[in-house]
């Protein structure tokens, strides 16, 4: 008996990444495994560290905006948005109403694009290739709209402090409505192809359950938190810009196919959010003032008053916060970006212990991380 008791499976350390198809960037996961079962996941980050915060202390506020683009390169508009909202609150600028609507439309379009990428890549992590390309096809349409509006497809530098860089193109409304009319019928198709697929449900339901308390304690936010059943959305609960004028639902996870807060719930919340974003865009296109200036009266050289501000906005990944400390000079004294993906990644170890290697990939995919934002 003693001999049998002394037989122990050897723990193997498996390095997933930094170059791995499913780490969504240069992320390294040190995974301690016992056979297929994972006992510990240690994320090692910093491979994409570009000293955003240090760099921001040496450049002017206007010049920071292109760098915020590059933090979360999947949802650049939302990152711009977060920064300018914080800056405008710090400087107490009232921007024209048309600008607010333009910003909301852009941010919501980018939210759809970001969720499309997240969901498609999630399908890819699970092994379904076709939904990925179908979603990419629709994402390209959104990028076309962005290219038309601001000339760039990925890194926009579109929202400025006190305005946007360009007005909308002339026939923007029809283009946008065309896209929505084309896109909305595709959502049920994605659902048929992937969401309700039994294999997909088997792979994601009950896997990587994140209870609400754990999620809040880890600071997880956005769709990941809502997947755990917490009805929290900065757009609704701390409205910024003109979000308080829109009528939209906050989808929360329900645990339809498994436990509340599992991977499927997080996936499903994103799917529902795309529909809500479409609603918001439609409402915004109706309510947008026809003409008007797209710049508020802002001095050429931005010098915020002395002081500090922390403002968070809802990026597709969660609460995106900027802590700006100004000393009255044209360069920030301190600029801290609270990236939602960093908190999402930190919860990985907590929720993936005891699952299999394939599940670690599935859980990581469901958290929808962007390494540019984590490493900054």
């Amino acid at each position: 008996m003693k001999e049998i008791g002394s037989i122990r499976a050897e723990e193997m350390v498996l390095n997933i990444g930094p170059q791995h198809p499913s780490t969504h960037g240069v992320l390294r996961l040190k995974v301690k495994t016992d056979g297929e079962i994972v006992s510990e996941v240690i994320p090692i980050i910093g491979y994409l560290h570009r000293c955003f915060e240090k760099h921001a202390e040496n450049i002017t506020y206007e010049q920071v905006i292109p760098f915020t683009d590059r933090c979360d390169y999947i949802a650049s508009m939302n990152n711009n948005f977060g920064f300018v909202v914080a800056m405008e609150e710090l400087m107490d600028i009232k921007v024209p109403e048309r600008v607010e609507y333009i910003r909301v439309i852009m941010a919501e379009l980018n939210r759809i694009a970001s969720h499309l990428l997240a969901l498609g890549v999630y399908g890819l992590d699970i092994g379904a290739f076709t939904p990925f390309l179908h979603m990419f096809r629709d994402r390209e349409r959104i990028l076309d709209i962005f290219e038309l509006t601001c000339g760039a497809r990925l890194l926009y530098n579109y929202m400025w402090v006190g305005g946007v860089s360009h007005d909308l193109p002339r026939n923007f409304e029809t283009i946008c409505i065309d896209f929505l009319d084309y896109f909305e019928p595709n959502i049920p198709e994605f659902n048929q192809l992937l969401t309700t697929n039994k294999i997909f449900i088997e792979r994601t339901a009950d896997v990587g359950v994140m209870p609400a308390e754990v999620a809040i304690s880890y600071g997880v936010s956005g769709p990941n938190l809502r997947g755990s059943g917490v009805k929290w959305d900065v757009r609704k609960d701390e409205p910024y810009s003109v979000y308080d004028k829109f009528d939209f639902e906050i989808p929360v996870g329900t645990g339809d196919h498994g436990t509340l807060g599992d991977c499927w719930d997080r996936y499903w919340v994103r799917m529902l959010e795309m529909q809500e974003s479409c609603n918001i865009i439609r409402q915004a296109l109706k309510a947008i003032p026809d003409n008007g200036d797209v710049h508020a009266m802002v001095p050429k050289k931005i010098r915020p008053p002395k002081g500090s501000i922390y403002r968070r906005t809802e990026s597709p990944r969660g609460d995106l916060g900027y802590y700006i400390i100004s000393d009255g000079s044209p360069t920030p004294f301190r600029l801290k970006m609270r990236s939602p993906a960093l908190t999402s990644l930190s919860v990985l170890d907590e929720i993936s212990a005891g699952w299999m290697i394939s599940d670690v990939i599935a859980i990581l995919g469901s958290l929808d991380i962007v390494l540019g934002e984590i490493d900054r």
């Binding site: 198809p21 399908g123 992937l194 792979r203 299999m356």
Partner: protein
Amino acid sequence: MTVDYLIDLIPFATDFPGLVFIAVIIACAVPIFMFIAVYALVAIYAELKVSSFMQDKVGPMGQGVGLHAGKWGLLQPVADALKLILKEDIIPSTADRKLFIMAPFIVFIGAFITMAALPFSPTIIVADMNIGIFYILAVSSLGIIGLILAGWSSNNKWSLYGAMRSAAQIVSYEIPAAMSIIGVIMLTSTLSMQGIIEHQSGFVWGILPNWIIFQNPFTFLSFFIFFMSGVAECNRTPFDIPEAESELVAGAFTEYSGMRYAFFFLSEYANMFVVSGVAVTAFLGGWQSPIPGLMDSSGWGLFWFMSKSLFLIFVMMWFRWTWPRLRVDQLMSVCWKGFIPIAFFNIFGIGLWKLIIG
């Protein structure tokens, strides 16, 4: 059959039996190898195109020859093959050299020798053994040895995971596949491939082909069990966990490159053909025409056999580009909790059907 035919052809066969035997074996092996190579090119092209079409893109294309991939991208598989041949062959310094080199050939041989018993037409079959289907079931699992060798000798954790997964998978899925075949054998009372096909000749009520799949409801179910198990044995999606490109990078093949990788690739496609061929032989009437009187001379046998097999291969591709991948424990439970009980139930049902109805 072909072997016997060739041996008979040579007048002095009885004088040098050993030599003639080897010569005949080579004479049969070379065409099969050529066939696999050509078929693999076609299948790769088909896979590219099928996947592209399902994903709303046109796949490899080209206007004119030259830098592009030829008309409709027809030269794409040729270019791929050329690239694999020309690519540097890398053997990791810490790998177990001998086993590392051996592994792809063992896998390929496993797929290759099963071809010997496939009846392409009434006359084209290398050897119509009286234990044909049993032989195929036996040797088709030879590949697993090669996969484990590859995984072990690569000295890479991903490879090891892939090898272990595929070992578990292939060994498990042999069981439902064999169980489904047992039902067929019970109906046909023969193990010979040609015998099984002969048994399926004729039509019920003059319209419905008398194939085993249509003979009773249990065989209908058996066909799907066999086919899905076959998909699993080929390591295709949704059962492609040994290769699992998004989890295990490339599974057992992670460290392979160039020609050695090409052999794995070739054997995967050859395996697909074998599985489809056996499914066609055992359930879909082999080389027999599905419509009474339509092209049912023995010359058309090859056409019918190939078109049926290629259709099943297309279905495999269809699976691959539609479905996600199962997890390893789910894979096992699908096999042990789903397929095997149903396969047993099918044997029982087929036996009962035969006793009661005839």
